[in-house]
């Protein structure tokens, strides 16, 4: 394309060296004046008159310069717009074709843009804090023998303060955690979980309050009763009061002075301490600060300027090694790790989002193949016109360029429509993603997303357009003209078949991915977690310390609340537990009485839950041996089958006594029963050894009540809440959900990816069937003469149908075979994301292949039927 390169070069010249071009033009015109003068002098004019005449002839150099520049710019714009105009004109003349292509591309590019805008907000956009790449989280690495596979563990305060004192690679470190309060005096009583933050927390984030101040270092002490509130809390709960800094909040019966209001931008929903409505000082007592064996705190840190994450890590590792030696009893086997804050927040969803982007990219490829197919058919249909243009001096390169610009124009129109589509779907995504994908509330279209859409459009245009443009550009004029008006049957059939093969293969990969994700979701939904979630209502109650200060009072409240629940119509059993199954909870070392206490590294650990009588029946957790706890029991324990096996092997544990050293080394509990295993940490995890404790009149402050009912559990919700309210009108009841809802909420991200993958696969399938249909129709049209001759020579309709079907099914089957192969290769990357099914499950793959074969057959039937109806005479006459 010498023309294009020359134009490009001159464009660059003009852009880069505008001044030089200007100078050159001046010189060129100056020389022209001199030459003109000399000419006139030679022909006998006196020098003065010659100069005047020359000036007159040339006119004003300035205005000439203007004219020249205008001509240049005009030529540049003309050349570009000529092609675009031509493309637009010829596309408008084929509105059906244009509409199909634009819609196809809009779906493909729109879906890609939407997924990319999520990926952009979640993975690419830095956290909204100054210098976010220096922000890290600090964790313990627990002993692997007791916590197999666990790489990040909460911190113990004493260890943290040792790290803080000795590490140099960090500018600052701060502890934080959650603290539950009951907020009263602001309308309905409400349970509120504050972030309790250690000194330096806000400084590390570089977060400034919008009003007032954050905590002073001396306020990180038990006596301080100060609180910082969020922008949202100030606006809605305090009515945006101007005198907010003179107000106090009643938190669990105590008055906390409001000292500051954080700006709206600080409320980052996807990270616990920033998503809070209120913040209070962590305020550990001296005794709390000295605790080394209990790991309940989180820590944030900022790396010192110039320090790397690796430096910070190696420093903490050295300190941890030293602490292991200094405090072997508590610290043996406990290491340290440093993870960037961004990674902690979004690391878990990265594989899912990358998978979705890959899947939606495949959809775009299928769309490309389809559009390529259509463009190809169109180019073949126009080959006479194109060949004539090429022969008339446009040149093949020029025709190629023209066709490519046409496909780029189409792609850009599709891209623009796709961006609108993606923009419209962002709200739906925000709703769908809320609370499941971190930073989902920040999903917006920004310049990067628009750039991505533009890039995707251009790439699509080139991908879809290059092959047809190349093939059409090669058509010889003589061939094109010789074939005359007859629809040259076999032109480019091979290329188009190849496109069908690709489409089908890509669809197989996508369908396989979607099918495997769906099966995984079904497996997760139906997996036996050890209890029966149907017919169960759950309610969370947290009793504030101020009004329920003694265990006896708390027990009295819960006993009465459970009595009232049991009295409700339809309720067959009710009980309570501190943490519901699947939700995680306390994990503690356990010591069997009479056996020596081991180092923490070697101690067996178990999930520890506190329950009340009635809980097992409400959840339908089978009692395998011994008895359930009873109301009057003191210091008794139930063990799961797994825990019994872990601690006693085949021996009978009933009557044995154990201690939980983190709670008390002195308090021994008697085992009264063995219950079935229950999954505590999530449906995809295996059931872990669990013990359930119970002591009369020792209820903890926060319990989840569960009631089994013969009626639909959600219909019981209102009655259950008012039953508890009647007991104490100031007591909040939170998270009233059925157990099925609790379970489903845990699977929302799996449901989200299965849903999207299914959508993408369906889209690909539809596109592929349209592709098969259009290619086959084209072939049948092209071969109608041959078909007519065949039927005239006695071929049966059956034979004709069979011939056309074979024509359609051959590339489809080739596509299915290669797609199956590709799906098997791709399954490696999926394996980590699926549960209860192999990503290369042969049965699923067979079903996917069968489905595609069926769709291909259906797409072939209409053209085959049409071919069978070709009347021999008509075909021959044409």
């Amino acid at each position: 394309m010498p023309r294009a390169t020359a134009r490009f070069a001159s464009l660059l010249r003009n852009l880069v060296h505008k001044q030089r071009v200007d100078r050159e033009l001046e010189e060129e015109l100056g020389t022209a004046v001199e030459l003109l003068v000399e000419e006139k002098v030679r022909s006998g004019m006196p020098a003065d008159a010659a100069r005047r005449a020359a000036r007159l002839e040339l006119g004003s150099v300035e205005s000439l310069k203007g004219q020249v520049q205008e001509a240049r710019a005009g030529a540049r714009v003309d050349a570009l717009f000529q092609d675009v105009r031509y493309a637009l004109r010829s596309l408008v003349r084929a509105p059906g074709f244009t509409a199909v292509v634009v819609v196809t591309l809009a779906l493909g590019i729109g879906a890609n843009t939407a997924i990319f805008s999520i990926l952009n907000a979640v993975l690419l956009r830095p956290l909204p804090f100054p210098e976010p790449d220096r922000l890290v989280r600090l964790f313990h690495v627990p002993p692997q023998a007791t916590f197999p596979g666990m790489k990040r563990f909460s911190l113990s305060p004493a260890n943290f303060f040792d790290w803080q004192r000795d590490a140099r690679a960090f500018e600052g470190m701060a502890l934080y955690g959650g603290r539950a309060f009951t907020l009263t005096g602001q309308g309905e009583p409400r349970a509120i979980v504050a972030a309790a933050v250690g000194a330096g927390f806000f400084d590390i984030l570089r977060a400034r309050p919008a009003q007032g101040r954050v905590f002073r270092a001396d306020e990180d002490a038990p006596a301080a009763r100060v609180v910082v509130v969020s922008h949202g809390f100030w606006k809605t709960r305090l009515g945006g009061a101007a005198d907010v800094l003179e107000r106090s909040l009643k938190l669990s019966g105590e008055s906390y002075r409001v000292v500051g209001v954080m700006p709206e931008a600080f409320s980052l929903g996807s990270w616990f301490p920033t998503s809070r409505e209120i913040w209070v000082p962590l305020a550990l007592s001296d005794a709390d600060r000295a605790v080394r064996e209990n790991h309940n705190n989180q820590a944030i840190a900022r790396l010192a300027p110039g320090a790397t994450l690796a430096q910070g890590l190696s420093e903490l590792e050295v300190i941890s090694k030293r602490l292991e030696q200094e405090h072997p009893q508590e610290n043996a086997g406990w290491g340290a790790t440093v993870v960037s804050l961004q990674d902690v927040i979004v690391g878990d969803v990265r594989p899912t989002l990358v998978l979705l982007l890959a899947a939606v990219g495949l959809v775009l490829l299928v769309a490309c193949a389809n559009v390529g197919n259509l463009l190809f058919a169109r180019a073949i249909g126009r080959r006479k016109e194109l060949a004539t243009r090429a022969a008339l001096g446009a040149g093949r390169a020029r025709v190629f360029q023209q066709l490519l610009i046409e496909s780029l124009v189409l792609a850009c129109a599709g891209g623009a429509a796709g961006v609108l589509l993606a923009y419209a779907s962002l709200r739906a995504f925000a709703v769908l993603l809320a609370g499941q994908v971190p930073r989902a509330d920040e999903v917006t279209m920004d310049p990067r997303v628009l750039g991505f859409a533009l890039g995707a459009s251009i790439l699509t245009g080139v991908l879809a357009g290059a092959l047809p443009a190349f093939r059409a550009g090669r058509t010889e004029l003589t061939d094109a003209l010789r074939e005359g008006g007859r629809g040259g049957a076999a032109l480019g059939i091979r290329t188009r078949r190849l496109l069908v093969v690709c489409e089908v293969a890509l669809s197989v990969v996508l369908l396989m991915g979607a099918a495997v994700m769906l099966r995984s979701l079904l497996a997760l939904r139906t997996v036996d977690a050890g209890f029966d979630s149907s017919g169960v209502l759950t309610l969370e109650v947290f009793l504030p310390e101020a009004r329920y200060s003694t265990p006896a009072r708390r027990t009295a409240f819960f006993d009465e609340a459970l009595q009232r629940l049991r009295a409700l119509p339809g309720v067959t059993a009710a009980g309570a537990i501190d943490d519901l199954p699947l939700m995680g909870g306390s994990v503690q070392p356990i010591v069997v009485e009479g056996r020596p206490e081991l180092l923490p590294r070697d101690q067996p650990t178990v999930q520890v839950r506190a329950l009340t009588p009635g809980y097992l029946r409400a959840m339908s957790i089978p009692l395998l041996h011994g008895r359930d706890v009873e109301a009057a029991d003191v210091d008794v324990m139930l063990v799961s089958r797994g825990a019994a096996k872990l601690l006693w092997g085949e021996a009978d544990p009933i009557g044995q006594r154990v201690t939980l050293p983190l709670v008390s080394r002195k308090l021994a509990r008697r085992i009264v029963g063995i219950v079935a295993d229950v999954k505590q940490d999530g449906v995809a995890e295996r059931a872990q050894p669990t013990v359930y404790t119970y002591t009369r009149e020792r209820s903890s402050a926060g319990l989840t009540l569960v009631a089994r009912t013969s009626l639909p559990p959600s219909s019981l919700a209102t009655a259950a809440v008012s039953a508890i309210r009647a007991l104490d009108p100031e007591q909040p009841v939170e998270n009233v959900r059925t157990m099925v809802e609790v379970r489903d909420a845990l699977l929302s991200s799996e449901r989200f990816s299965a849903l999207l993958l299914g959508l993408f696969a369906a889209l690909a399938l539809a596109l592929a069937s349209v592709g098969i249909y259009s290619v086959l129709s084209y072939i049948v049209r092209g071969r109608s003469r041959e078909i007519g001759i065949r039927s005239a020579l006695g071929a049966q309709r059956r034979d004709v149908v069979r011939m056309v079907l074979r024509e359609g099914m051959t590339p489809a089957l080739a596509g299915i075979a290669s797609g199956a192969l590709a799906a098997l290769l791709a399954s490696v990357s999926l394996e980590r994301l699926v549960f209860g099914v192999s990503a290369s499950d042969p049965l699923t793959l067979a079903a996917v292949a069968a489905l595609l074969a069926l769709v291909a057959l259906l797409a072939s039937l209409v053209p085959a039927y049409r071919a069978a109806r070709v009347a021999p005479a008509t075909a021959l006459r044409d």
């Binding site: 020389t31 001199e34 205008e70 030529a75 050349a79």
Partner: protein, 109 residues
């Protein structure tokens, strides 16, 4: 036919410039003199039309330019036909012949 009226025939100027350069490189004024010469003085191209046209054709990739000393030893911008320009000349020539033939036939009829 006067020069002014001849310039009204759109496209002719481009054809004449391309033709003038077909024999070899020329600077702007040279192109003008050459057109005068090959048309037997029928066309006199004014600088106001000539220079914009030269630059437009250069922009379109039909002409290439470089700087050389002129006959009076000043730096002058010399234009040559590119390959595309040569092809364009052929096309315009063919088109022109067709038009000319058609007009001639029409006038004879």
């Amino acid at each position: 036919m006067t020069a002014r009226r001849a310039a009204l025939l759109q496209g002719t100027l481009d054809l004449l410039i391309l033709k003038a350069l077909a024999a070899g490189e020329l600077h702007g004024l040279g192109v003008s003199r050459r057109i005068e010469q090959i048309t037997g003085g029928t066309f006199v191209v004014q600088p106001g039309s000539l220079f914009p046209a030269l630059h437009r054709l250069e922009e379109a990739g039909w002409l290439a330019a470089d700087w050389q000393p002129s006959e009076n030893n000043r730096r002058a911008k010399y234009y040559t036909l590119t390959k595309a320009g040569r092809r364009q000349l052929g096309e315009e020539q063919a088109a022109w012949n067709q038009v000319a033939l058609a007009i001639a036939r029409a006038l004879e009829a």
